[in-house]
């Protein structure tokens, strides 16, 4: 109630009854125009591919060829293994970077500095050619292996991709840890938790909310980065596609086969990411439960 209401100086203004209005929704002409242009462009591209010199029957034939499926499985296994190694190292080095212990801090900083500072393909080549530097690996007298036996294309790819990924994930995890309020750590300390338990039980579970979207992104990148391992003879899907087209000359067809599989895998992963994000937003005010 306005204080002046009812006084002589104030008179309630006369307004029309709002229920008498008809409301016209906004027209989005721009959207319709854009949609039409995009459909036109897509139609043009599809037409070009359909009429171009592509044998679609060859694409269909090789989509499920044993060598392609074998490469696909290798790609998926490698992406998962390298990412698991990357996340493990990432968490480890993030915690080390944030440690008050200067030895741990600077070792972790050095690791991140080196592996972010060199191209991934160069790291893969280094791992693959490790035998040139160290003909044997192990502890002399106790156990020793010939490096060429240990560093197979699979191992070289795993180490190269995983360790490189760890350097990036460490930064993501560090940002996640920093996003958790210091009060959480203090409360955990006050009930007698030691530092590692606080990380594991209190800080990291809450940091997940911040960590998962970028790590999901990097997982998707990883699926595609495995293709770099074709240069060190790891038989992932792209390398196997190449091997086939070197023999039969169907270059574009086999590249399309590989592209279809990459898109399929990435689509499934994007879907999984959505569910993980929901799982780790427990207890958040803005989570919109059950949506």
């Amino acid at each position: 109630m306005t204080p002046a209401a009812g006084s002589e100086a104030y008179r309630t203004p006369v307004r029309p009854d709002p229920t008498a209005f008809t409301i016209m929704p906004r027209r989005h002409y721009g959207r319709w125009l854009a949609t039409a242009l995009i459909l036109l462009a897509i139609g043009g591209i599809v037409r070009a591919f359909a009429l171009g010199q592509i044998e679609w029957s060859v694409v269909g034939q090789f989509l499920t060829a044993p060598a392609i499926l074998f490469g696909l499985v290798n790609t998926i296994i490698m992406a998962i293994a390298a990412m698991a190694l990357g996340i493990t190292l990432g968490v480890l080095f993030a915690v080390m970077v944030m440690s008050p212990n200067p030895v741990l801090h600077y070792s972790a900083k050095g690791y991140i500095w080196f592996f972010r500072g060199t191209p991934l393909i160069l790291q893969l080549l280094l791992w693959f050619n490790l035998a040139l530097v160290f003909p044997t690996l192990g502890i002399p007298g106790l156990f020793e292996f010939r490096t060429v036996d240990v560093i197979t294309p699979f191992m070289a790819t795993l180490l190269g991709l995983g360790i490189n990924q760890g350097a990036y994930t460490a930064e993501v995890v560090r940002a996640g840890i920093l996003s958790v309020d210091q009060g959480q750590t203090e409360a955990a300390q006050s009930i007698g938790m030691a530092r590692p338990t606080i990380m594991r039980r209190i800080v990291l579970p809450q940091a997940m909310r911040v960590i998962i979207p970028p790590v999901g992104n990097e997982f998707i990148s990883m699926v595609k980065l495995t293709s770099l391992a074709s240069v060190i003879q790891f038989s992932e899907i792209l390398r196997n596609a190449q091997t086939i087209y070197f023999a039969n000359g169907r270059v574009i067809e086999l590249l399309i086969v590989a592209a279809i599989w990459y898109i399929a895998v990435v689509s499934v992963m994007s879907f999984g990411q959505h569910f993980l994000e929901r799982r780790f937003s427990r207890g958040q005010a803005n989570r919109g439960r059950g949506q």
Partner: protein, 262 residues
Amino acid sequence: MSLDPRQSAQTLLSARKVTKTFGSLTALDAVDLDVTRGEVLCIIGPSGSGKSTLLRCLNQIERFDRGAIWIDEELVGYRQDGDTLYELDDRAIARQRLACGMVFQRFNLFNHMTALQNVMEGPVTVLKRPRQEVRQEAIALLQRVGLSDKHDAYPAQLSGGQQQRVAIARALAMKPKLMLFDEPTSALDPELVGEVLTVMRDLAASGMTMIVVTHELGFAREVADRVIFMDGGRIVETGAPDQVLGEPSEQRTRDFIAAVLS
């Protein structure tokens, strides 16, 4: 260290010449303090006078630069061998923290856990006690703070007053010898202050030793055995509530009380 404040077995906590600086700022300036078992001590004083820092030093969330603290005859943060003090490692400090429960101004409940999980976390994870037994105790504690119907609520679904009561239950679940409260009602809407003070009043009546930093002078007068006024990192005045709050001998105390009441 030649200091030895050990007096009667009635003393639960002693602090001697506890000093803490942040850069050039002296947050605590040679603070001496003794707390007897079952005593309720209220600390009042203006913002920035070092009240939080004192509590945080008692619970080793903050390291202090000089001085010594004993809790239940155990030297805090160090192992003593003759006149030499050896710094304790992380695990030993974590174990010592079990002596004190702490309640924070901003509650600091674990956001990813329900009320019941918050209360159970310490006994299960830290004390490694059987989950079923802990669960029964946690249910009883939540009942004691009046939250029997909120077991499965996450902190974000609770009001400030409810969160603070869960936080008190979480601290009590560790069966501490001493409870530290750092302005437990300062972040609450005025109508929620009462429910938290009621829980604290009951706790005091049950014989718990408590150190309470608060601006609730009414609560201090009613519940405290002793009131301390701090300013500039020092204890300026200490005495019975009626004396410190009613007829303070120091001008600074008088000014502060007048400012709080106005």
